[in-house]
């Protein structure tokens, strides 16, 4: 048995459009908030991990230097939209293995407006030229397949966005804080059938910070620790004759995390899932075991994932409404679940939440983390 890992502090720079702020500005606000939340001084942090995707060489060094230069090792971590949750997993690995007692993760991204390109890698390649490498289209094709196999309706997907925006309206750190009706979502501009504009996560500027500690060290600061209890990561597996898993082996990685945490889907009180596009939540309620295969559409439609539902999901608005600054998203997911388990989520609070699950995916890379208090 290694050291148990505690999420000791969390912090965000509000998500949104911040053209006047630098990557350093965004990171500093999140990092200082997390240090204050933890009650820790930066000089006590022993290692830094920075999740970002396109902020350039040395981003980790520059962002950590905003709050201090103490000579600690700093590592940049890139796993597309799942970068900062993977950074937190690497920090947790090192604490669990006894290497450090206190580590800090910064996730940050400043993004251009418009569609995310470059799915085919830096070479771009013929797929970009042919118009195939379009992110919403990849989700749309999975959605069409789901509709074909299980009779899922566009309204089911759209309802995810309605619920997400309702939650976002309760979150002062969300990019969109305005509720939308089902008609608003369905009537917004079609992007790639069945996905409309309001079913796409926006591009966002923002930062997140998470401070992780060994249980022993954490007990010096808190009597009610939130544990990062189990974590598992994976990437697509080639299986003969089966099409690629576009967003990775969600089901398998979730099973590993459940097993390590000694829990099952029924034990989860609140969850964060990767809703880069509205169908994501429908797929994931099935893949994470919250409902049977093929029933994700009606499950979401009936309100089971609302804050007052059976398994509240994306209580902070999720990627769709809180926003999706890709390198910062994992840290924001951890932030929301930590607040939920502490009972500090205000109007978004899920009563008496004790166990939480995070799912964050990036072009095939999958991270699942279980938290307990």
């Amino acid at each position: 048995m290694g050291e148990r890992v505690v999420i000791l502090g969390v912090g965000l720079h509000p998500f949104g459009r911040h053209p006047e702020k630098s990557v350093g500005d965004l990171s500093r606000v999140a990092a200082l908030a997390a240090l204050k939340d933890a009650g820790v001084e930066f000089k006590d942090i022993q290692a830094g991990f920075c999740g970002h995707v396109v902020q350039g060489v040395g981003t980790g060094l520059r962002t950590f230097a905003e709050v201090g230069m103490t000579g600690i090792p700093i590592t940049n971590v890139e796993l597309a939209c799942a970068s900062s949750s993977r950074a937190a997993m690497l920090a947790a690995d090192s604490i669990h293995g006894g290497l450090y007692d206190l580590a800090m993760v910064i996730g940050v991204e400043k993004m251009e407006r418009g569609l995310l390109s470059g799915v085919g890698g830096a070479e771009g390649g013929y797929q970009s030229r042919m118009g195939i490498a379009l992110m919403p289209a990849l989700y749309a094709m999975m959605a069409q397949r789901h509709m074909h196999l299980y009779g899922t309706k566009h309204e089911h997907f759209a309802q995810v966005s309605v619920k997400s925006h309702r939650n976002g309206a309760l979150n002062p750190n969300a990019q969109y804080q305005k509720a939308l009706t089902l008609e608003d979502v369905l009537n917004s501009r079609m992007i790639a059938d069945p996905i409309t504009l309001y079913e796409c996560s926006p591009t966002t500027d923002g930062a997140s910070a998470v401070i992780l500690a060994s249980e022993k060290r954490a007990r010096q600061y808190t009597n009610e620790p939130v544990f990062m209890d189990a974590w598992a990561g994976g990437t697509p597996q080639y299986r003969r004759g089966e099409p690629d898993e576009i967003e990775g082996p969600n089901e398998l990685v979730a099973q590993q995390a459940y097993e390590q945490a000694g829990i099952g889907p029924d034990d989860v009180d609140v969850a964060q899932v990767h809703d880069a596009f509205s169908p994501g939540e429908v797929f994931l309620v099935e893949e994470l075991g919250f409902c049977p295969k093929g029933e994700g559409g009606p499950f979401v439609w009936e309100g089971n994932t609302a804050i007052d539902g059976r398994i509240p999901i994306n209580t902070d608005g999720g990627l769709l409404s809180r926003g999706h600054p890709i390198g910062a998203t994992g840290g924001a997911m951890i932030t929301e679940l930590t607040l939920q388990l502490r009972g500090q989520a205000g109007p978004r609070q899920v009563p008496n939440a004790k166990t939480a699950l995070m799912h964050n995916a990036g072009i095939g890379g999958v991270n699942v983390i279980a938290f307990k208090r």
């Binding site: 569609l115 390109s117 070479e123 771009g124 390649g125 013929y126 797929q127 970009s128 030229r129 042919m130 118009g131 195939i132 490498a133 379009l134 289209a137 749309a140 094709m141 999975m142 959605a143 069409q144 397949r145 074909h148 501009r189 079609m190 992007i191 790639a192 059938d193 996905i195 080639y238 003969r240 004759g241 099409p243 690629d244």
Partner: protein
């Protein structure tokens, strides 16, 4: 732009797309000599048995629509105009190919419909050559045709 005449004009495949032009166009994929697995785009190491050095083979020109979407916008720099249909086509070899559909009303597209390869001009390069790309279009029902 240099002068161009139809006599000098050649057809070249879109860069990166392994495509045989001419009288019997086909996608050129990889086949593993050990386990028989096929891949597109081509690759060097077999994902099924890890053999290095796969052979280049023409793939079946007919397949079945696995899934699709109607893209209502195109990324800057792409050679398509919206709306257009993006599709995954399953070939008899077990290969899944990402492509664009041609010669079909978007509303008429159905999962499972038979499709066949078609080669179309995508653009003109700086030397005046026709840059050719592949798409798939609806095919009459029937069994998949053998390659070559």
């Amino acid at each position: 732009m240099g002068t161009e005449t139809s006599a000098e004009r050649k057809q070249v495949p879109l860069k990166g797309a392994r495509l045989r032009l001419g009288d019997s166009p086909a996608l050129l994929g990889s086949r593993c000599p050990d386990c028989g697995e096929h891949f597109y785009p081509p690759r060097y190491v077999c994902l099924n048995c890890y053999r290095e050095g796969l052979e280049e083979v023409p793939l079946s020109t007919r397949g079945e629509l696995w899934t699709y979407t109607i893209a209502r916008m195109a990324l800057p720099g792409s050679l398509v105009t919206a709306p257009y249909v993006i599709a995954q086509v399953r070939l008899p070899e077990g290969v899944s190919v990402a492509t664009v559909l041609s010669e079909v009303e978007p509303e008429a597209v159905r999962i499972g419909m038979p499709l066949e390869l078609v080669v179309e001009k995508a653009s003109t390069d700086s030397e005046g050559n026709d840059v050719m790309t592949f798409k798939f279009r609806p095919a009459p029902d029937g069994s998949s045709k053998d390659p070559s």
